[in-house]
Symmetry: C2
Subunit: 419 residues, 2 copies
């Protein structure tokens, strides 16, 4: 059945469309932190951040079903849905981040954010960290340095080395924040000389795709100062850390003590319904709206807003941010107690945890792959990240419990015993 489905998939989706795992998982059902495959095998989901409040949460499903049966149009007509949601969401941000554009994907959100930087500054240069990922549009995918695009990278993009736990920028942990800011200053100078000028820095406040490095809370202060001094704007990509994932706050930028001009949101926003957004200062929004005629057919439709609003309900009513903090601490301690020569560092904030694997000071990608496959074959979904794919990534739905943390730790302990 699965083999047959793989053949059919290759025929209609293409020859080089990856699946997770050597033996792909054929899922059929999800509930809370659990998913089931076609054979009835149950998996503890430690990977998926999109079903943020749990797979198929009944409150979100009910909201989608009710609104889909009532009305689904666009924002050129008036509707309470988008306005009530916008009021409710922007209330969770710094007071000056008070306006919203709703779109369908984090990629669309970051694609807008880049143009906001351009509209505010009249310049086009953008700086991002290397080995990052902010989305899949032609413009945003230019920020990923993994594969050069046809025709080469756009001339207005500069990459700076991302912060790192084991190999800090500048060589020392203490000097990393200043060294990172210095790299940004160099990139700004280079953009100014090139004629593109500097419009802004786009960053993930947890540097999630680069391995979730362990950073002090004041890490971004020197970088932010450099960006501001050069007249650029700060864009915080909260697609991964947002909506309480890190357990401390609603947004990753808060923990860093920053006040970004633009924040982008995505994956967890409506528990899997295709919803994303840009939150910005009114002055930024106004510049963007004046410079670009932007309209998104599906963005902010009543069903999407109902799904997003119901997701907020559950986060609040079930205290999921506190849960993320408490269970995340417990989970981190359990994982830090696993003994294996290949575990170089275990770190995390809330329900977002990374285990960096090395052998003799060299990234051990094979060990990471073995552990991920072992987990899959023993009822647990997880992934890996980092530029060497040697960092195990644990990022479960937010209702994850201490009991779940214990179950996951048992599977990982067994995996590390085996390899």
């Amino acid at each position: 059945m699965t083999n047959n489905l793989m053949d059919r998939r290759q025929a209609v989706l293409g020859q080089n469309v990856p699946t997770f795992y050597e033996n792909p998982v054929h899922l059929t059902k999800g509930e809370g932190v659990w998913a089931w495959d076609i054979n009835g095998q149950k998996y503890l989901d430690c990977y998926n951040n999109v079903p943020h409040v749990g797979h198929c949460h009944p409150h979100v499903v009910a909201a989608i079903s009710a609104q889909a049966a009532t009305l689904n149009t666009h924002t050129r007509y008036l509707h309470e849905g988008v306005i009530e949601y916008a009021e409710r969401l922007t209330a969770k941000f710094h007071t000056d981040l008070d306006q919203l554009i709703m779109v369908c994907s984090g990629s669309e959100a970051n694609d807008i954010a880049l143009r906001m930087a351009q509209a505010v500054t009249g310049k086009t240069g953008i700086i991002a960290t290397d080995n990052t990922y902010h989305g899949n549009t032609m413009a945003v995918s230019q920020l990923s340095s993994r594969k050069p695009p046809i025709g080469g990278y756009a001339a207005n993009i500069r990459h700076v080395p991302a912060p790192d736990t084991l190999r800090p920028v500048g060589g020392t942990t203490e000097g990393q924040a200043q060294a990172f800011a210095h790299k940004i200053q160099n990139a700004i100078d280079d953009l100014e000389v090139s004629g593109h000028g500097f419009s802004g820095l786009l960053f993930c406040p947890t540097f999630a795709n680069e391995g979730l490095p362990d950073l002090p809370a004041d890490f971004m202060k020197p970088a932010a100062k450099v960006v501001r001094s050069a007249g650029g704007i700060l864009i915080s990509d909260e697609v991964q850390p947002g909506f309480g994932r890190t357990g401390d706050n609603w947004w990753g930028y808060e923990w860093l003590g920053l006040s970004p001009d633009v924040v982008t949101l995505g994956k967890p926003m409506a528990n899997g319904h295709p919803v994303a957004a840009v939150v910005a200062k009114a002055s930024v929004m106004s510049e963007f709206r004046n410079a670009f005629s932007y309209f998104n057919t599906f963005g902010g439709n009543p069903v999407s807003c109902a799904a997003a609003s119901a997701t907020l309900d559950v986060i609040e009513q079930d205290g999921l941010i506190t849960n993320s903090k408490l269970v995340g601490c417990d989970f981190l301690e359990r994982l830090q107690a696993i003994k294996h020569d290949g575990i170089a560092n275990v770190r995390g904030r809330g329900l977002f945890i990374a285990l960096e694997l090395e052998t003799d000071g060299v990234a051990n990608e094979a060990l990471a792959a073995n552990v991920v496959e072992y987990a899959r074959n023993n009822g647990m979904l997880m992934g890996r990240t980092g530029r060497n794919r040697n960092i195990l990534k644990l990022r479960p739905p937010m209702p994850f419990s201490v009991q779940n943390a214990r179950e996951a730790t048992n599977i990982l302990t067994a995996a590390f015993k085996k390899f």
Copy 2:
């Protein structure tokens, strides 16, 4: 209530976010071809093509509700949903258009299509018609010539004059196809000289945003020949004409006798659920997949596929393409019978009809605006298009009936009597 909502909207969405109509419509309910506002006023919907099989169609709502309650993940796991839908959808295309990428918006689809052209040719130059609209990403919005982007238009874009009913390219109706092809050849030559090279032509087969010109079925043959001779690919943007809108076929390119390399789909695909797609030849898909690492978190998720599949069910089971043809012919005849000095041309195919308004040979935007406002105030939703905003656009949900055509014609007749 409405005024208060407008103030709240401005506060959270921004100061310059347009609504339709001088007196915006505050919708609360939709069913079939009808929508209702907050005061209980009923509107015959002659505008919205997104609720393709009718507002809130119960079969689509049921499919969304059932799948949302069962599982919603992404395409890195195996799931029948995306595969069954891809098989079913690609079967409706020319046999060599046999592979699919699912995304969230027509903008994302066209953004991919541009990169497919680049991947196949190794070049970056793109040609589009002027005054068009293919979407809102940074790359795709460059194809719109309405407002220059910050930093100016990308150097790899060329615009050619769109075909026109009353003011044909080249000056004569008979010579328009050749003149249009000649403009494309000039643009290709210019791109080759510039060093960008020519990768493809992106076009809407009904040129919907430029006023739905009345063209012969062989209109695109010379243009296609020029594109092919230069090694470029043909991208048919079916976001508006697709899924049987024109009443003749599933896709607009079929009526033109073309065999595009890439087709993009959007708005009507899942009756309002945020779903879009790119259908391409396997060879094109393979080049794209090799050149770019593309993944879309929400694209092809089980709920989106269920919504899209249910939409196909209704189109087929209710014979909506035939309905579009029959009711479209009837509606067109009724509209052509309206007498007014300002009506210069009435044309259309299926349930996609344009009334071009002129006075003394000059576009009459004011008359078009008056008619649209009159309709709104008398229970009918419609829009206008064209580079001078003087072309009335009628594009109702597909279950539109002869009785609905009669009702709409009565309202328009009264409007044209008044102005």
